[in-house]
């Protein structure tokens, strides 16, 4: 996993609440067996018309937002399906930070596994940022995960919180599996006391 410590990038304002993972990556694109290549399908049904031509009104197709890497959005972002294809699509498109007042649990968790920071700011701060972005005051943001600070190139600054362990893993790009496997003795000990009524002994 690619570590993330400091990130500076253009802001993409997606002014919608409850954006679900079906919108982030529609189901017709879930049939690939790789983790890569999903960026071209990000927000597909909003981004392209039924003929596959870009929808000029959609924010990813509008200047100055093309090429941005920080998504600014509303509450409960990433609700619905557990598909990790959603963060894969965001990452493959180039998004490294998503800012919202709240996130759905599974999506939030999936982001950290893929080097994306889901950054929670209070609703009024998000509203304030939307206004600044709409009026071109804020174009780029710098997110510093070391200091948990975010600022633009003018006078906007805010601090944010991330669970320390998640922050640590993201800063260092750590592989969870290797960490868990360090507990091999404890896993084996647990398994030695495993209840027989949970064993799936009856064959298919």
């Amino acid at each position: 996993m690619q570590p993330l410590n400091q990130h500076r990038g253009g802001v993409i304002p997606l002014d919608r609440a409850n954006v679900d993972t079906d919108q982030i990556i529609p189901k017709q694109f879930l049939k690939r067996t790789e983790r890569t290549g999903f960026g071209q399908f990000l927000f597909y049904n909003w981004r392209f018309d039924t003929d596959g031509k870009p929808e000029p009104g959609f924010v990813l197709n509008r200047e100055p937002y093309t090429g941005g890497s920080i998504l600014l959005t509303r509450n409960n972002f990433g609700c619905g399906s557990s598909r990790e294809h959603a963060p894969w699509a965001l990452l493959d498109y180039g998004i490294r930070v998503v800012i919202a007042p709240s996130f759905a649990d599974i999506f939030y968790n999936n982001c950290f596994k893929n080097g994306i920071l889901p950054l929670i700011l209070p609703e009024e701060t998000v509203e304030h940022l939307f206004q600044r972005v709409d009026s071109d005051i804020t174009q780029k943001l710098t997110v510093d995960l070391e200091t948990c600070q975010i600022h633009d190139e003018q006078d906007f600054t805010a601090s944010f919180e991330v669970e320390p362990y998640r922050r640590y893993c993201l800063l260092n790009g750590l592989d969870d599996i290797a960490i868990t496997l360090q507990q091999e003795d404890r896993i084996r000990d647990y398994e030695s006391r495993y209840p027989d009524y949970y064993l799936l002994t009856n064959p298919v």
Binding site: A17, D22, K27, S82, N109, D176, Y197, Y198
Partner: protein
Amino acid sequence: MKPRTLFEKVWDRHVIHQEEGKPAILYIDLHLIHEVTSPQAFEGLRLEGRRVRRPDLTIATMDHNVPTTDRSLPITDSIAVKQMETLAENCREFGVRLYDLDHPQQGIVHVIGPELGLTLPGKTIVCGDSHTSTHGAFGCLAFGIGTSEVEHVLATQCLQQLKPKTMEVHINGALSPGVTAKDIILAIIAEIGTDGATGCVIEYTGEAIRNLSMEERMTVCNMSIEAGARAGMIAPDETTFSYLQGRPYAPEGDTLEKAKREWEQLHTDKGAVYDYRVELDASKIAPQVTWGTSPGMGVRVTDTVPDPATFSTPTEQQSVRRALDYMGLTPGTPITSIEVDRVFIGSCTNSRLEDLRAAARVVKNRQVSSRVQAMVVPGSQQVKEKAEQEGLDRIFTEAGFEWRESGCSMCLGMNPDTLDAKERCASTSNRNFEGRQGRGGRTHLVSPMMAAAAAIEGHFVDIRNWKYQD
């Protein structure tokens, strides 16, 4: 000992290690996998030279993109075929049991788990699918995970988890005739919102929950995720234990008796405290119909389509306007005057035998409206077989429904079962998101009886006034 909630008891029993300020390492008793969210996980194992630690606690099925038409015909979607073949190869290579397309017990992962007796009280169960919450109906801690976590469980049989908060949803009183488990959960979501239980595990309690059958409890727990919860749980009782009798993987004899003694402890202790609590009166719940593009956008069948101006914040008003525009609905329209083009009875929410029985009773000796195309997709091949033994298939087909093979089907439209743009569907599934059932398709979530009645009348009706012809 400090009084504990049901969740805490199951959680504590599975924590194999916990360091201050770090997630717990939680042992997983059952890992269910399917074709869509597993290929990248197996690929990850291969790249790192890792094995599946407990293939004996891992079970695979194909459900998300399988066709529901004649199984003897070749599948036309070559990418879907590749995904199914990949799962079969991965299961062979890593020694995982697979219920493939030709297996007589194939079906939707959350239908076959309980049906086969894989789902047992007190287990931790995960699957790369958010509706894993279904299994919580048995007093399990069951939740959906992403593909990285699927890989983690395959490699370690454990997960790193931060301890969630708890919410009690207490449902007093008794349901009115025609009001179902689906209406309970839709009413809860309309009440607390689609992020009302974010960060929480819900425990459903109260008289109305105790009186539900196992299949009804599964419907309630299934849609916990639509309220934002990772998991929903119901304490096991005699209803649970009798459901388990004779299931293929369920313990038997002395082992079962020993297990039951453990499982009888799986209830929230007197004096245990939840982080949040919500209370609803079952007798006040009416049949529900969603009108928007989020499961929380629902009303009683006797209501009208709401006016965006009546919502409190500008963000909500904008969401409602956008949803009504997408759904092609005008504020003030009575729900019962909304006409439907399609009816879908199926999905991990409502495709079990009791669901099909309830819907069949509504359609018996009636005809599907000429404006409606209606289909029934049983949740598993076992459900299909049992329904056929009872003659439910004939009731449906004689009324004009299509009777299909099992799978996720039009719940998410990954297979050819999809809506066309602007087609309006009464659906027993769990999500009414934009494009969920097909790009531009309009989904209204309802119970199986409400869907069946909409198929007959061509528009929504209040099922409480239905004249049964049996």
